[in-house]
Symmetry: C2
Subunit: 193 residues, 2 copies
DNA sequence: CGATTCTTTGAAAACAGTCAATCTGTGTGG
DNA sequence: CCACACAGATTGACTGTTTTCAAAGAATCG
């Protein structure tokens, strides 16, 4: 829970009282995930969101041809889950699983809303989180519709260097919307320069 | 302001008192935009977000070759602006302009935060807005990285039929990350079926 | 060491972009 | 009312990029 406390203090403007943190704390449950274990499978409802204390998590969907498309990558101090299903409480179109073995803190949708109304600090956290998530999504959309594969990969390496050695190339390729073969060729081309 | 009131009541769970709405109202300023008029230009800080009472607005960036890439399209009862610059109050990388002549209600970042802490209903609105925006962005990312141009266009027509006759094809093409020529060929191919 | 997963590579095919020309519809000013 | 400009849409020929598929080569792990 120390990780959550540290996280909160860096993202919330005011001080967080002991009572507040005790309250927040009480709504989270600790869970360990083995490598490849699912946090969420397609068709399930995303009951809980996961704050990642340790590990790496991937969100992806599978198309009609069986090809996986990586929607999001998450590491320590990020939140993993399917926002859409979490908010609507309807079946998800995505899988979320542990790429590395993980330690996470889970909170349900209900408890999120409860905490939001009880605790201004938590409310502030959620607002900031959503804002940051929106900004990141907008940047990714801009990159995806504006640039070719090579430029997108370059930008990815600059913005998310910590992902590059943590996920294999075929996953990064699917995050960028290209095939592993194309990414391999792009890397060869770039290394020749 | 009636449009704003109607909008609030559909997105907020509780009733909105007259005092609350008077307070909210007082932080918005009415503005008319001529067709092609800029709400925001690249390099400027997005001081205000715009609630659209009437009209259609486009957010786009321009790459080093001078090509425009449409990031977002907005119509009545949506919010227009550059979220990133609005939140960070740093210079924007985007243009936001009126595609049709518009009537909008503007609110500054400062007033947004003020209202948020003063008025739970407004706070709830912002949270829901950010949630919805995140969901829409996630869907768009999924579509862009998973499907080819034809499928993306089909999905676009299904999800946003009201955009199809309101923006010209070359703008819809740039929203989808393809050229107007390709979109024209896709449409011909689809109409033959 | 064997199994598994990840990466690289080549050749052909599919897909999308480029550029220039033409066509269409709309509206404006003379 | 016509002529014209203007913005948008279409098309063809060509180029460039990315995918596909299959095979082989590396790296990792129990």
């Amino acid at each position: 829970m120390q990780a959550l406390y540290n996280y909160l203090t860096t993202y919330v403007s005011g001080v967080i009282s002991d009572e507040d943190f005790d309250n927040i704390k009480s709504h989270f449950t600790y869970k360990q995930l083995r490598k490849k274990q699912f946090l969420l499978e397609e068709g399930e409802i995303c009951r809980s969101f996961a704050f990642i204390v340790k590990g790496a998590i991937r969100q992806y969907c599978v198309d009609e041809r069986g090809i996986e498309h990586t929607i999001n990558l998450f590491v320590e101090n990020w939140w993993a889950g399917d926002r859409e299903s979490f908010v609507t409480q309807k079946p998800s179109a995505y899988y979320v699983d542990a790429w590395e073995s993980c330690e996470v803190l889970l909170i349900t949708r209900e408890d999120t809303l409860k905490l939001c109304s009880q605790c201004p600090a938590f409310n502030e956290l959620l607002l900031k989180l959503d804002e940051r998530s929106n900004i990141a999504a907008q940047k990714r959309i801009t990159s995806t519709i504006s640039y070719n594969a090579e430029m997108r990969y370059q930008e990815f390496v600059e913005n998310y260097p910590f992902f590059v050695n943590r996920f294999p190339q075929h996953i990064i390729a699917s995050y960028l919307g290209i095939t592993k073969d194309t990414l391999s060729r792009i890397r060869r081309k770039m290394s020749r320069k």
